[in-house]
Symmetry: C2
Subunit: 241 residues, 2 copies
């Protein structure tokens, strides 16, 4: 059987014999860029019904259609981990969203803090990055990117029972490790360049559900810290176990 | 005492009372970009003598001078860890070098493999990225970026006693964890997009010093994989312990 060269996220429901109309952009990508033709296989997922092997049944420049043949993977939900981060420069914010999807965050939450430089994000663009990362990494789930929320409000509305792993620049070189005892829902919080303000730090440390964790003896950039923190969490409590 | 706003890597030896002539680029950065003046403090390191607090003694547009006042950190060598990786697209290669320096690699080795796209690297540019990352992350050591080497040759000349952590896309979803028993010199090897060839994989797996490690159930991009693998290693065997 021919190997699928493309993995595509779609909105529609997936099931045996189901037809999937393609958008103009999808048709352009499959038939214009990737030069695919009728009969070629495509892997498709929608974040709900697992991954399906489909075949191209209509291949035009501006539209097209796939038909679902067989499920190739069941839906695999990531663990209930949020990645909360303070947006930084555009390219690095894009990277953090991409990395969060690859590393298996269930939700991505941009947070505005006292030292956050950017006061706006383009939620739709960041969501598109998360989709692309899910297509690339073989996951069957796409994390939702939230709208920018102020740290105060995020903490005021914090869901009961969710633990918080708080990676603080001020802990550089300390030996604070993630204690691997508490399962259930979690969030990781990564600060902006320049770290958290003293007031924020005091508030965060006083939270009963907060766990302060050190990321080694060097100061990591926010995108590096996000991957490192998710690695520690996934290995201790998540789906790398 | 005024807080130093700049952390600078220099080539010269550092010691109490030592004067440090600045290059044209350094003078431009300190006095043109950062608007510093005579008397202002600068943190300086050279990879050998730790970190020193210096004061500006000459501040011109095209040249300048610092004087070392006091040591602020001793030299802290990273663990003896090499990060070996197959260069990918330019921006991501730059990121891998930056991340390797932040995460505390002692040496960075670009490796050409069967599926490597780029056959050339700019060693001087990558080395400059490593210097910048060291300035930023507060380390007192700058990892050396080697010239591009073919995987065959790297393995043929492999130093006795150095262990190899081999992160293979084919192990996605397996439960192979880093066994935290073997200290001493190590290297991490990250493959290119598309992974290793069958021949390379067979050769790597047969090496007595190779340890195959899984990085979770999703396929990670090379730059994500580099940070994740270094996190696992630093936490188990390195200076995050």
């Amino acid at each position: 059987m021919k190997q699928a060269k493309v993995r595509l996220y779609v909105e529609q429901g997936l099931g045996e014999g189901q037809t999937i109309p393609l958008t103009k952009e999808q048709a352009h990508y499959l038939f214009g860029v990737m030069r695919m033709a009728v009969g070629d296989p495509v892997l498709v997922f929608n974040g709900r019904d697992g991954e399906w092997r489909c075949a191209v049944t209509v291949a035009n420049k501006r539209n097209g259609e796939l038909v679902c043949e067989a499920q190739t993977k069941p839906l695999q939900m990531p663990p209930d981990l949020w990645l909360c981060f303070a947006p930084i420069k555009k390219a690095r914010t894009d990277f953090i969203v991409e990395k969060a999807a690859e590393m298996g965050a269930a939700r991505i939450v941009p947070v505005s803090t006292d030292f956050t430089n950017s006061e706006r994000i383009r939620q739709d663009r960041l969501q598109a990055h998360a989709v692309e990362a899910a297509e690339q990494c073989g996951g069957t789930y796409v994390p939702e990117v939230s709208d920018l929320v102020k740290l105060d409000r995020l903490l005021a509305e914090w869901p009961e029972g969710r633990q918080l792993m708080f990676c603080d620049e001020a802990e550089v070189g300390s030996a604070k490790r993630l204690a691997a005892s508490t399962g259930g829902p979690w969030a990781i919080l990564i600060g902006p360049e320049g770290g958290f303000s003293d007031a924020e730090r005091a508030r965060l440390k006083a939270l009963p559900f907060a766990h302060v964790v050190s990321l080694g003896p060097r100061i990591l950039r926010a995108d590096t810290a996000a991957v490192a923190a998710m690695t520690l969490w996934q290995q201790s409590l998540g789906d790398w176990q």
